[in-house]
Symmetry: C2
Subunit: 180 residues, 2 copies
């Protein structure tokens, strides 16, 4: 059985939407995902706001109420029948998020065993055949194949197979309903 | 550069000593590590205490004050110059320990980047050449070589290369001062 590692933020959880909502509310602005085509948040906001905005991800409860990415629950449950599925999140950059992320996964992906959840930093430590992630730098030293999950910031990257949504993840890993 | 993953409990941290101290104090007993030769704690205590004793590891602050294993800091620092060192702890079984373990590692092993710390459950997810661990079941599906770090409970296991202390870890990985 092949193994798929799946990132959490902006792949299972719609972190970017929650992030922009918070930013727009605090600064009375209307930045949308479209404004972030090929850019990071840092490319579109004034530098004197960097510190505060970076702090969003360091808030203990930021991760509690993140929306779930469309179709991710149904597709991941299907994949779990044909692959070993691990969830791998770069939580070490945000130690305050540990408990909040754990609760969120238990709530929305109860069919994934906690033993298949990994908090890490450098994702090259993962022993998996595939890594579905929105951050291409994690693929540089990854032992398997990186599959780029589309997010505004990575839309200009062309070096990896790309999936635009969870239906495309399903088609990629279960063509004709069978595993690769 | 080869990569070594190192377990935390009973390899870097002397969890067993803290555990027995707590148990002996609460129950007015004198169980020692010697009493645990080839046995788990469950083999030597009455079953009506199982639930409470299992709860020790679920206490948020249990991990805060764990003693550091002799020579582990000095040897791990030396190994870091010749290997990629990751710390991999089965924290997913004890979600309350997340923050406490993180603080402990930062305090006692500040030369290990948080990006090289992994919280996991099933350690077969680790992509490393070696895993130094006291729990042999983690080696069953591990892709590299498991190196068994002696602990009372594993003293009857003969299926893996064994190290009895951190000086032996040093001799194994830096024979003549050079990496394998």
């Amino acid at each position: 059985m092949k193994r798929i590692a799946v990132d959490m933020d902006d792949v299972l959880a719609d972190t970017m939407t929650a992030y922009l909502e918070l930013y727009n509310q605090e600064h009375n602005e209307t930045i949308s995902k479209t404004d972030l085509h090929g850019k990071a948040i840092w490319d579109v906001i004034p530098s004197d706001r960097f510190q505060k905005v970076a702090g969003y991800l360091r808030t203990a409860h930021f991760f509690d109420d993140l929306p779930v990415m469309q179709d991710s629950q149904e597709v991941l449950r299907r994949l779990s029948g044909h692959y070993e599925v691990f969830i791998a999140t770069a939580a070490m950059e945000f130690p305050n998020s540990f408990s909040s992320k754990y609760r969120w996964l238990q709530q929305h992906f109860p069919f994934i065993s906690p033993l298949n959840v990994v908090y890490c930093g450098d994702k090259s430590i993962l022993n998996a055949d595939y890594l579905v992630d929105d951050t291409p730098r994690h693929f540089l030293r990854f032992a398997g194949e990186g599959i780029l999950f589309s997010s505004p910031h990575n839309l200009l990257v062309n070096s990896y197979r790309r999936v635009n949504n969870w239906r495309e993840v399903e088609s990629l890993f279960l063509p004709d309903g069978k595993p690769l």
